[in-house]
């Protein structure tokens, strides 16, 4: 992580909804976070909690229904200039959840990798394009010879690398990695994680890393935000979150992490999160900084309980 923390991305009270009228559904209900330059920011939560939606709202794939997304000091959600839109496409890239589904099987690897690039840099010659593709493939540990082949000829790990090459060719400063290893086999997960770390160090990239696997998160993230039903309930530096999670939902998630140790596993007690523990009828929850760099969604009563608990640590 950078020594002096410079904010790259600010998300303020972000709302995203789908449908309208009766079928209006709010998938993201006012979330707040900052991502610092050079860090890996983790977003964890269960299926359907809104992780992918947040990622897609940041890269402008989904319109926002409220709040602001500020990148490098500029507001990038809602109506923006063509110039800025191009800038966003260049600077923010997304790696998708399922490497099998996200690559067009009838397109050659070279076409897949350069697709985004030729959309924004129209004037590139054939030769320049090929050089960029070759370099992007080499960067992710694939041979340039692979450029003329088709995605189905590759293993899951190689396909995910193709997805990463497609993002890297844009030379982004910020990458949103949406569950980049969940669909991969155990034996290649480590390779892809190592590749992402290496690229980050070499290029000072910033990552928003989305996953539901907390053990992967702990290994890769500097800070972690826990999302539940469209709301971020807790956000803290990784080790703080693992050492003393405060929100009952975070505690439930942590208690369920599978550990490769039979004695721990066979004696583990999984906590079940029960929303009704919160009484928000009059004392409404707010997003507060409960200790340095540690944020939580809590009302006044809960906040004072959490503070008490922090004192006893």
């Amino acid at each position: 992580m950078a020594d002096k923390k410079e904010i790259l991305l600010e998300v303020k009270d972000l709302h995203v909804s789908f449908g309208r009228g009766k079928s209006l559904f709010e998938a993201v209900k006012g979330v707040n976070f900052n991502i610092y330059k050079g860090e890996t920011f983790g977003l964890v939560g269960e299926s359907g909690s809104g992780k992918t939606t947040i990622g897609r709202a940041i890269i402008r794939m989904y319109p926002t229904s409220g709040g602001e997304v500020i990148f490098n000091g500029q507001k990038i959600n809602g109506k923006i200039s063509k110039e800025l839109d191009k800038d966003v496409i260049h600077n923010i890239q997304m790696i998708f959840q399922d490497p099998m589904a996200s690559l067009n099987d009838r397109a050659k690897v070279s076409d897949i990798v350069k697709e985004g690039l030729i959309n924004v840099q129209k004037g590139l010659s054939e030769k320049e394009q090929q050089e960029r593709v070759d370099k992007a493939l080499l960067d992710v540990g694939l041979l340039p010879e692979f450029a003329s082949r088709f995605p189905h000829e590759f293993s899951g790990g190689q396909r995910q690398r193709i997805g990463i090459a497609r993002a890297l060719i844009m030379e982004p400063s910020f990458i949103i990695a949406d569950e980049p290893i969940s669909a991969l086999d155990v034996s290649i997960r480590a390779q892809v994680l190592n590749l992402l770390s290496k690229l980050q160090q070499e290029r000072n990239l910033t990552y928003l890393f989305i996953a539901h696997d907390l053990s992967v998160m702990r290994f890769i993230s500097d800070r972690i935000a826990v999302i539940e039903h469209g709301k971020i309930v807790e956000l803290a530096p990784t080790e703080k979150l693992f050492a003393h999670p405060l929100h009952p939902y975070t505690q439930a998630l942590l208690s369920a992490i599978p550990m490769p140790n039979p004695d721990l596993e066979q004696n583990k007690k999984v906590l079940v999160y029960d929303e009704s523990v919160h009484d928000y009828s009059s004392d409404k929850p707010e997003w507060i900084e409960i200790e340095e760099e540690h944020f939580i969604l809590a009302n006044k009563k809960e906040a004072s309980e959490y503070r008490e608990r922090l004192k006893t640590l």
Binding site: L193, R218, F219, A243, A252, P258, P260, K268, V270
Partner: protein, 351 residues
């Protein structure tokens, strides 16, 4: 496992597939005893043969596949000789049942949940209509579905992923099978729901005195459910032992590599140990130890001769030349020591 009695015994199994004129050797000489009442986990990377091996024991081998040699002994009969659906009918579903990764593949979207569980009873038992309904409600309760009377009349799309998996388990145990095979039943689920399903499987195992075979590539899950673990690589079981033996004293370099690549053992800022290369092409004959080309500890002999099992303890054996008395002494990777000393995260949890 004291007085061990094998309920199912797989002996020298070789299974092949013919594919566009070529032959793929998917299961390469597997022998495995499954003991009464135990939970055996089978782990290994994609394509190692976990599903083919277990599906064959239920007569569900794909049409282009065939048993080249070997036996599957079950209650004195050799299931490997079964040819017709008629023969398998008595085994599949009623003696050995299966829960799949994606419950939607075994649920009919057009029929109610109650009808589907009942269907399996109609087929495999001689209960009358009323008794069947009673039994279905009882099973739904067993698998933790609240308001079973109401749920009975609902359709699969009205259930969440975790609940559908509970229903799939209900269907599988409805006819009191002896053996329950679970093929990656929790991979598609969230961790908290996964933990609940694992607990459910353990409870069902006790309640119905089931022998369970649990297929997964998630070693955390294995530590949770398994009494014993079999590690598969390229169509063979290369190491088998009690759960403690496999996690705390693994002997095969492939097992070392699998364990070492777990992010739980990773140190932030350092590279995570990973397995390079790809598994062998099973269309071609495999020479020596199938893992040798990817094994940083490979000996010259590994490239020439296939290792036999070396016994480590009465319950633990591994196919690696490293266990031969003549082999140089090689220590397992240091990171594996972390496994024994692991602590639960979130120190204040549950306190």
């Amino acid at each position: 496992m004291e007085n061990k009695k094998a309920v199912l015994s797989i002996q020298d199994m070789n299974i092949k597939f013919s594919l566009r004129g070529q032959i793929l050797h998917a299961i390469r000489g597997v022998s495995l005893d499954i003991y009464e009442g135990e939970c055996l986990a089978i782990v290994g990377e994609s394509g190692s043969g976990k599903s083919v091996l277990t599906k064959t024991c239920m007569g569900l081998l794909d049409k282009n596949g065939f048993i080249e040699s070997g036996h599957i002994m079950y209650e004195g009969k050799d299931l490997a000789t079964y040819k017709t659906d008629k023969e398998w009918e008595k085994i599949c579903g009623s003696e050995i049942a299966m829960v799949m990764q994606d419950p939607m593949t075994c649920l009919n979207p057009l029929k109610t949940i109650g009808w589907q569980i009942e269907e399996s009873l109609r087929y495999h038992s001689n209960l009358n209509k009323e008794e069947r309904k009673k039994r279905v409600i009882e099973i739904l309760t067993d698998v933790g579905i609240t308001e079973p009377e109401r749920r009975y009349k609902q359709y699969p799309h009205e259930f969440s992923g975790g609940m559908r998996q509970r229903v799939a388990i209900a269907i599988a145990v409805a006819c009191n099978p002896k053996i329950l095979i679970c093929d990656e039943p929790t991979t598609a689920l969230d961790v908290t729901i996964q933990a609940q399903i694992l607990e459910l499987i353990r409870n069902m195992q006790k309640k119905y005195n089931l022998t369970t075979v649990y297929i997964t590539h998630d070693l955390g899950v294995v530590a949770n459910v398994a009494d014993r673990v079999a590690v598969m690589y390229a169509g063979d079981i290369i190491e088998v032992g009690t759960s403690r033996e496999i996690f705390y004293e693994p002997k095969h370099p492939y097992t070392w590599a699998l364990l070492a690549s777990l992010p739980q053992l990773g140190i932030k800022g350092e590279e995570l140990s990973s397995i390079h290369g790809t598994p062998p092409n099973l269309f071609l004959p495999v020479k020596g130890d199938a893992f040798a080309p990817r094994n940083p500890y490979a000996l010259a002999v590994d490239f020439e001769y296939r290792p036999p099992y070396f016994e480590v303890s009465p319950t633990h054996k591994a196919k690696t030349w490293l266990l031969d008395p003549r082999a140089p002494k090689i220590e397992p990777p240091k990171v594996l020591e972390m496994i024994k000393n692991m602590e639960r995260v979130g120190g204040v949890l549950g306190g």
